[in-house]
Symmetry: C2
Subunit: 199 residues, 2 copies
């Protein structure tokens, strides 16, 4: 087991790697730079991750596991009623948004490198099964393509976090710190998601 101090060095390396890979791109960052940014000696990346590539994989793995852990659990059971279906969709929006916000530093570099995300695949499978159950139970429309439904939810959440600085600067809206906006954003998007725009 890691001692507290070891854990902290490891976490600083994960954090510095995320920031520098995001800012400059994986290929443009040296092991020396990451260690300097993390205030550790040069051999620590080798010690904890084997190589720069190992650090990259550890960051992606950490991000991947964090991002969809709660959403995957939420979708494990079929909806019991129309109200339960609606409530679960609401929770899904809120918890996924929280997970993206917590990992927003890593998101920049994940978007850039576009690695394979194993738990995204697991989440997609769970989400599709959940939508299919809702269709069979008569809570969701039969015509739906579950992939597109998932895309709608993830695109909205992803971009709200990706463009957080832009939205803050140009619209004065801050989903991270403004609770009222966060609530309104989730409610309006769940409503749109559930009911569409046509009257």
């Amino acid at each position: 087991m890691d001692s507290p101090k070891e854990k902290s060095t490891k976490e600083r390396l994960l954090n510095s790697g995320s920031i520098l890979f995001g800012e400059k791109g994986y290929g443009q960052v040296s092991v020396r730079e990451i260690c300097k940014h993390a205030h550790t000696s040069m051999n620590m990346i080798h010690h904890y991750f084997g190589s720069k590539e190992g650090l990259f994989e550890a960051i992606v793995d950490h991000f991947d596991k964090q991002l969809f852990a709660i959403p995957i659990k939420l979708l494990a059971k079929s909806p019991r009623s129309k109200e339960d279906f609606q409530a679960k969709i609401e929770l899904l929006f809120e918890t996924t948004l929280d997970a993206y916000l917590e990992n927003k530093v890593i998101l920049v570099f994940v978007d850039r490198e576009q690695p394979k995300l194993d738990s995204l695949i697991e989440f997609s499978i769970g989400f599709k099964a959940f939508i299919e159950q809702a269709q069979q139970l008569g809570f969701a429309r039969k015509e739906l393509d579950a992939d597109m439904v998932l895309g709608f939810m993830l695109d909205r959440i992803h971009n709200q976090v990706q463009f957080l600085p832009w939205i803050k600067k140009n619209h004065g809206l801050d989903i991270e710190n403004d609770k009222a906006y966060r609530t309104r954003w989730c409610e309006a998007n769940v409503d749109l998601f559930m009911n569409g725009i046509a009257s």
Copy 2:
């Protein structure tokens, strides 16, 4: 007026600037690199754009004007009927997707630098007016927040283009070259946009 040759040098500089700014970030690219990439002499950026900053602004301006020119025209008139409303929404998805695909090289760097986009503001105003007219005419639900509706459409299209390489690699789907997928994608998203998921 520019001669054909002059136009071509200018366009090559715009293109090379977009590619290099996108790959490395604005701050990491030198005038020398851009000129080399564009196969022009060193003083051409000065001649056409004044400076690196001038080139940056010219690329953003070009992108901004291109991206929303057709969508802005489409939204200028109120929908005449429910069918016309649906048809215009379909056209809006298709033409906006085309414009994003045509400008996909610039998108990488616009996402990174997140500059102010004037015609996005113009498009937003037009879109909101269009949705409000549809609400008054009874074609769209009264509860809608037009900003969120716009966000849904743009996020879907933006990300389909931003993650084109990732979607191609992981799902074998190519919205740029696979006409059947493009049609299916537009239809499914317009359906979701219009009708939501609830039955």
